[in-house]
């Protein structure tokens, strides 16, 4: 199978709301693929289904040849998923976070130590590696979150707005690393609201709107077709108005923020 991701009529409903509506697309191995859309369009829901965190209502999808409902463990072993929010243990150090994830993905302690060391260096976090990450800035947390996702050298990387909240220098570090990673054969599935990011990184992009896929092509061809920047392309296919976003019925109690 030459496809890293194959999606067929994937649908997710929350009650009466259809968040993802019969979406189909393929991502060949080694491609840097952008999945764009307005807030609430269904990007994150699609990604969470592909990463086995949500069960589809209907349809099928394969990641690295593993069907997401039939063989979720196969999917989990071969992917990395940087979620929209940083998902690290705030009362642990960077080292503790990375080493634990490394061993849970099957690395030996020595391998995890070596890999963690490389990634901390790359993300320029070596000096603060022994501090609790609750004391990190937003940008530092984001860079560490990405390092955590890369610990086991995943073949397919899902990135849900990975540079959100980073300053330009931080974004540039991440971009260059992702380019390098993609150059070494990793398939990258990216969602972002930064059109310059999608334009710079992605070979092809799909735009999803109201749960349906509206267009898929290379940024270059889409810009030629619409005649403008990728921002223009985005607005052309999704409309000018702010979309009605769906509610998240499973959102955490805001009080939680006081405890983290």
């Amino acid at each position: 199978m030459n496809e890293a991701i194959r999606v067929e009529a994937l649908t997710k409903k929350f009650g009466t709301t259809t968040a993802v509506d019969g979406v189909s697309f393929n991502v060949p191995k080694g491609e840097f693929f952008g999945f764009l859309g307005p807030n609430g369009a269904g990007k994150t829901t699609t990604m969470r289904m592909l990463a086995t965190l949500l069960r589809p209502t209907s349809g099928q999808a394969w990641v690295n040849g593993f069907e997401i409902s039939q063989n979720p463990d196969g999917v989990r072993r071969s992917i990395g998923f940087a979620m929209q929010a940083v998902t690290l243990d705030p009362l642990a150090t960077a080292w503790e976070n990375l080493l634990l994830l490394g061993v849970l993905y099957g690395l030996s302690r020595k391998e995890a130590h070596q890999r963690g060391s490389e990634l901390l260096e790359l993300m320029q976090l070596t000096k603060v590696a022994d501090s609790w990450i609750k004391n990190y800035s937003g940008g530092m947390r984001r860079r560490l979150d990405l390092a955590a996702v890369l610990m086991h050298k995943p073949e397919v990387l899902f990135l849900d707005e990975p540079t959100e909240g980073l300053d330009p220098a931080g974004r540039r570090v991440i971009w260059e690393y992702l380019k390098k990673l993609n150059g070494s054969g990793a398939t990258i599935f990216l969602t972002t609201h930064y059109m310059d990011e999608a334009d710079y990184l992605c070979e092809r992009i799909s735009i999803i709107d109201k749960g349906k896929l509206v267009v898929t092509d290379s940024p270059k061809r889409l810009k030629e077709k619409v005649g403008g920047t990728l921002d223009d392309v985005f607005i052309h296919y999704t409309g000018h108005r702010i979309q009605d976003e769906g509610l998240n019925p499973k959102a955490a109690d805001p009080y939680t923020q006081m405890n983290t």
Binding site: D73, M83, Y105, G106, A148, T260
Partner: protein
């Protein structure tokens, strides 16, 4: 199976560290049992003049010392649910769910960490009450028996908070599970021996499993291990195990819903 053990071990280490952090939060967990111990053993000292009481302990401090241990366990394990709900709310649980970690290891690691913490908390409290003058008739060999009881009961008690955490994902509800502590700890023989109780209160005390756990601890501390006490100690273990069967069964059921 090897992977389950390995994952459980590493999640146990993580859970144990998590339960100790931030270190300042450990203070109330010792302060409250010490407060009750000091105040009650001074305030109720005249109770030891009652003829029926003399069969149980030389003075009220001796009688109340096991309650301080039990309270230390209540307080140390009560935070397990909060820790889990924090993991859910800040996305760390998703980080684990998207990894190939065996689902059961997530719960087992947490439970073992909670049990271990209960043992340590009970050992520290035992040292404290002995320093104040409480006896420990079971001697050195009795220490592991007492700690084993603390381990089992600690895990069992944490099941209430864990169930609420997995079911509601709401920190406020989990925090409010503290109210269970009041009936389960006070409607026992914590204040007076069973023959001095009467009416509905006595009946309620007799159906409360915590009564038997407390009596097991009290037997170890005041009478040691011998033919007269072995039954009471065994019933203490049985009560802790049965209580755990119910609370941890509920927690596992709720966890399966969450991770499905």
């Amino acid at each position: 199976m090897n992977k389950v053990f390995r994952d459980t071990y590493y999640l146990f280490i993580r859970g144990f560290k998590q339960s100790l952090r931030p270190y300042i939060a450990l203070m109330p967990e010792f302060a409250v049992p010490i407060f009750f111990f000091v105040v009650n053993s001074a305030g109720f000292q005249r109770v030891s003049d009652l003829a029926e009481f003399k069969n149980y302990a030389g003075n009220y401090l001796e009688f109340y010392a096991p309650v301080a241990l039990l309270m230390a366990i209540f307080f140390s394990t009560g935070s397990a649910g909060i820790e889990v709900v924090t993991d859910i709310a800040n996305g760390y649980m998703d980080r684990l769910f998207v990894s190939p970690v065996h689902r059961i290891s997530i719960v087992l690691g947490k439970l073992l960490a909670t049990g271990a913490r209960s043992m340590i908390q009970a050992a520290i409290m035992l040292a404290f009450v002995m320093l104040i003058g409480a006896p420990f008739e079971a001697g050195l060999l009795g220490v592991p028996i007492l700690l084993a009881l603390a381990f089992i009961f600690g895990m069992a008690w944490s099941g209430i908070g864990l169930t609420l955490a997995f079911l509601t994902k709401n920190p406020r509800i989990v925090q409010s599970s503290f109210v269970f502590f009041i009936p389960f700890s006070f409607i026992t023989t914590s204040q007076l021996p069973l023959p001095l109780l009467s009416g509905w209160y006595k009946a309620a005390v007799m159906i409360n499993p915590v009564t038997y756990v407390l009596e097991g601890m009290r037997a170890l501390m005041l009478n040691g291990v011998g033919p007269e006490t072995v039954g009471t100690i065994a019933v203490g273990f049985l009560a802790a195990a049965l209580f755990g069967l119910v609370t941890l069964g509920a927690a596992l059921f709720a966890f399966r819903r969450l991770s499905a």
